[in-house]
């Protein structure tokens, strides 16, 4: 699941993005903002994958907002203007959607964003997790394994106390790069390079024993057979 927020001063423009997002299964629109300042507050607290950002807003231009972001974030600009006017700013945008845009065009932009996010996740060595009302940066190499507990996931870390985050294990698995992590059980995700060995459908990491779930067995064995 990819998460996003939308910022636009016009409520009906936000409605449209909400409607379109609800038609896409892999996209979760966390929140939409008519005020850019509220969005900035939100972004300081919650991790999201990308932003739908209007360019012409009364208080701050989307361009200036983008430049003021606390960390590099992927952006799909939405604009009523010609794309040439926007491209002049030389921003590293995922895409520009010219209002009004068709659903097909919207899907195209989402597809671009999805590709960029998975590419980025392979390069990046950390992920952002909200826990205990704070935003944590967790290095992949610090993760021992991840445990799913109904609506929460528990991230077990080397030398630190585990983190609890409000999301299901499916959402967690989607956030992690498939080249580095694998889901081995209904309730477990493990980092590939931490696996010491596998014996009798049990994965050994450090002194821990993690079971391989029957429905994940085939995938796991295939991966390790190749290695």
């Amino acid at each position: 699941m990819i998460t996003c927020i939308a910022i636009d001063d016009e409520p009906l423009a936000l409605d449209l993005i909400e409607t379109f997002c609800s038609k896409k299964e892999n996209i979760e629109l966390k929140k939409s903002f008519a005020k850019a300042s509220d969005a900035l507050t939100y972004l300081n607290k919650f991790p999201i994958d990308f932003i739908f950002l209007d360019i012409q807003m009364p208080d701050i231009s989307g361009i200036d907002f983008y430049r003021s972001l606390p960390r590099p974030t992927l952006v799909i600009f939405t604009t009523a203007h010609s794309k040439y006017a926007v491209e002049g700013f030389n921003l590293r945008a995922v895409d520009y959607l010219l209002k009004p845009f068709k659903f097909e065009r919207f899907e195209e932009a989402i597809e671009k964003a999805t590709q960029m996010i998975s590419k980025r996740n392979e390069i990046e060595d950390y992920l952002l997790i909200r826990s205990e009302y704070k935003l944590f940066k967790i290095l992949y190499e610090d993760i021992d394994f991840i445990e799913g507990l109904d609506d929460y996931v528990k991230i077990h870390l080397t030398g630190k106390k585990p983190l609890l985050a409000r999301m299901n294990i499916k959402g967690m698995a989607d956030k992690l790069p498939a080249t580095k992590f694998i889901r081995v059980h209904r309730s477990f995700i493990v980092p590939l390079n931490r696996v010491n060995f596998i014996r009798n459908k049990i994965i050994f990491i450090k002194d821990l024993e993690i079971p391989i779930g029957p429905s994940y067995e085939k995938e796991v064995m295939k991966l390790f057979a190749l290695k």
Binding site: L16, T19, Q56, A80, H81, L98, K99, P100
Partner: protein
């Protein structure tokens, strides 16, 4: 540039006016030197007063009094000016001795009291009236032109504000969003088509050339919207053949002929045919449009670019690289245009 020129013209005209005595009145042979000099000074001084009067009248008196309908005051001030100029002109002016005047300008009568019939004074009154009326006339004309100009400017800026892209596309987006919300995909699609057309016109048509695909997309949208308007009576054949990718064309070259068919070839009375075939052959674009000739009701104002303008543009952009045939035989109107775009 224009105003500089007009200032130059005014300076020249007034210069000629100021020095007219040198040109128009040759020195009478047997007149004393002092009288001649004094008379010239008087002439130039008087003429200078006329110049000043003209501009005062033009920039101050007419706008302040005439345009505000204070006609009596206006007349009073005008009379005051006349009196003043009279006094100035009298300061140095020496009447020619009667015998010389009679010899030199025999058509002049010299009355006994020497005031009202004096040709010099009559000429001053005439010139004054001329200048007074001229400045009034020119001022009124320019005022009227300015009002007209303002009106046109206002109309234009209202129009511009409405096709201000920011306003236009955001509004279309709002309506689009409402249509999507109500799951009205027909309306939503129509809005997308209209906005694609508007965007093409606003952002692309000022270019010398556009992608053929974009021009065709514009035509597609136009035809689709016309289908919605015209309903079942229209029997439309609309075909695009050949490879259109990567080719370029001058914007709005094909469109006017298609627009024309929808303007003159449609009726609500009975079924009618419109046939549009666009072929993209290597190096060429061929357009064939056929519509029925119907009795035209001259009511709607001309909104299209017009065939005449389009032909002019074709001649400019594709000089002798196009052929056009307009066939008006029978009850069909058929346009066949072939452009060499290579």
């Amino acid at each position: 540039m224009k105003s500089k020129l007009s200032i130059l013209a005014q300076v020249a005209a007034w210069g000629a006016f100021l020095f007219s005595p040198f040109i128009l009145f040759p020195k009478p042979p047997n007149l004393s030197q002092s009288i001649t000099v004094l008379n010239f000074i008087s002439f130039i001084l008087t003429n200078l007063c006329f110049v000043i009067y003209y501009y005062l009248n033009y920039y101050v008196v007419i706008p302040r009094l005439f345009f505000t309908r204070k006609y009596f005051l206006y007349l009073l001030i005008t009379a005051g000016f006349l009196l003043f100029i009279f006094l100035i002109s009298g300061l140095f002016h020496q009447d020619m001795p009667p015998h010389i005047a009679h010899n030199h300008m025999p058509w002049h009568e010299h009355g006994p009291d020497g005031f009202m019939i004096n040709p010099f004074r009559i000429s001053i009154i005439l010139i004054f009236l001329l200048i007074s009326l001229a400045s009034l006339g020119i001022r009124i004309t320019s005022q009227w032109q300015r009002v007209e100009q303002e009106k046109t400017n206002a109309e234009l800026s209202y129009l511009k504000a409405q096709i201000n892209p920011h306003f236009l596309f955001n509004t279309l987006n709002t309506i689009y969003s409402m249509a999507i919300k109500n799951s009205d995909s027909d309306t939503a699609n129509a809005i997308i088509k209209l906005s694609e057309m508007m965007r093409f016109v606003i952002t692309e048509t000022h270019n010398d050339f556009v992608l053929l695909e974009e021009e065709l997309n514009y035509i597609n949208n136009y035809v689709e919207l016309q289908k919605l308007r015209l309903g079942k009576n229209m029997r439309l054949t609309y075909k695009i053949e050949g490879n259109t990718i990567g080719k370029k064309i001058a914007p709005m070259t094909l469109m006017p002929f298609i627009e024309n068919a929808f303007k003159y070839g449609v009726t609500t009375e009975r079924p009618f045919d419109i046939i549009i075939i666009i072929k993209s052959i290597t190096g060429y674009i061929q357009l064939d449009v056929t519509n029925m000739k119907l009795p035209v009701v001259k009511n709607s104002g001309d909104t299209g670019l017009g065939i005449k303008n389009t032909l002019k543009r074709l001649e400019l952009v594709y000089p002798s690289n196009y052929t056009i045939n307009i066939d008006e035989d029978g009850n069909l109107y058929r346009v066949s245009l072939k452009i060499n775009i290579s």
